[in-house]
Symmetry: C2
Subunit: 280 residues, 2 copies
């Protein structure tokens, strides 16, 4: 290992380590410990309760997929809700879509948004879009009185250990479904099948139980443990694995990860993931 300071996120006998230059921020909010580092090679790094949430280096992969897979699975979305996502990265990607009319975000921890605005401007610029309305609340409660309102709901949660715990319950998935307009699509952060197979199986089962069409997609994100993360996608409207629209050229030029082929390919699952999520 090279000299210098490193921050490490390790669990289950292996993990990621990142060389840092400087700790920019360490705050304890009502919900969690928020840290931002200047890294040696990966730009800024955000940790919540010691778990890497993003680095400037590779957050584009996660945020582009979390935003664009449900939008293109839908094909005509106008009203979108993000639950969690206080760093603003999913909002930034949604903001590239001029056809969207309402961009609501429900983040439980206002201190995450404040830290992101201060230390992660390249991600938190998502909040600058005039269509964005910020709700500081528990997303699992917020959706309960939004029956039939949203076209797309994106759950950009932390892991189930922290304040995001209610976002991993089957009841929450039923509430998400109720908050959708006809043809609506949900996409939820659904962990790594290499690391948390039981949780992946449960989240996938919850999606399949609630929606006629469901899929489990993989996103390559080097600085997440195991180098990838899954997304559960569900809809009663149409097959979510097939984009409803081509990517407009002016959007394609802005994207570094998402394209039509990656949309379809992300839903292909290795045999061991098929065994976990149903369908071998």
């Amino acid at each position: 290992m090279e000299p210098g300071e490193w921050v490490t996120e390790a669990a289950a006998g292996f993990g990621m380590t990142v060389e840092i230059r400087e700790k920019l921020c360490c705050r304890k909010s009502q919900f969690q410990t928020i840290e931002v580092y200047e890294t040696a090679k990966l730009g800024r790094l955000l940790m919540l309760d010691g778990i890497i949430q993003l680095t400037s280096f590779d957050e584009f992969a996660y945020h582009e997929m979390m935003a664009n897979v449900p939008l293109f699975a839908h094909g005509g979305a106008r009203r979108v809700l993000v639950i969690g996502g206080g760093d603003g990265g999913v909002l930034r990607e949604l903001g590239r879509h001029p056809e969207l009319e309402e961009l609501d975000i429900c983040e439980i921890d206002r201190e995450v948004i404040a830290a992101a605005r201060e230390f992660l401007p390249g991600t938190a610029c998502g909040f600058d879009d005039p269509r964005v309305r910020v709700h500081i609340a528990d997303g699992s409660v917020f959706v309960r009185d939004k029956a039939g309102y949203y076209d797309v709901i994106i759950v950009d949660s932390t892991d189930p250990g922290g304040p995001g715990a209610p976002l991993f319950n089957q009841d929450f998935y039923r509430d998400l479904k109720r908050a959708l307009r006809p043809g609506g699509v949900i996409a939820t952060q659904s962990e790594s099948p290499f690391l948390l197979p039981e949780l992946v199986a449960r989240l996938n089962a919850a999606t399949r139980a609630c929606f006629r069409y469901a899929g489990y997609a993989s996103i390559m994100v080097p600085t997440y443990p195991t180098g990838m993360i899954g997304m559960s996608v569900g809809s009663d409207g149409r097959d979510v694995t097939e984009p409803a629209l081509e990517v407009p050229p002016e959007l394609a030029r802005q994207l570094r990860y998402y394209n039509t082929a990656m949309h379809r390919a992300a839903f292909a699952r290795p045999n061991f993931v098929q065994d976990m999520t149903g369908g071998r």
Copy 2:
């Protein structure tokens, strides 16, 4: 981080760290330092010159794809050559194919094979197949007098820093092409586009320059840096991104990663990889 001993492979400001129980082997061969560890949670781990080559936990992903993508891209292979691959993992996957007649391996370092046989029996069992013939030689020299002999050549190399350096030259790709029978397919370990973009671009360009059909495929391997690794595949025979055959049921039951959908999906490339490898 949990207590205990950890081994870390880090470069470019980030890396992998793995908790270990015991160092089982540390030998200096003529070519490199060979280490095998018993890890806390990932089974055995093989390092060459400090670079993680495999863990028992996730080597199936890499070895199944390195063997099966070129075999199914070909569709009728009988004679296969592995260059490198001294741990035996690619041979083990090739051995699941009863139709193969010759399984040659050309590994430069006999000490790697010896260490794998002693400490990695679940991988090195690939050498037990009676069709296997072992050649201890520099693969870049070995292929030069094998004109028109092999249906499939798989280059399972280390990184270009070590004894595998000649396997990253354009000349070597021309020699591989010459060693193929008509319709032959090559597959070469081609690094991570997140970590080594210039090298990925160069290996891809070498494959495209030599072969009518070429593709760059991604494999999710959690314990490699960035959590994935690429494979360049080339042939003059047919489109390598489309399997020529279905997976026979008796083989499918043995596989944990490879399937027809994963074959196709692996060749989908994020926009930034398309920019690197040609074709956006």
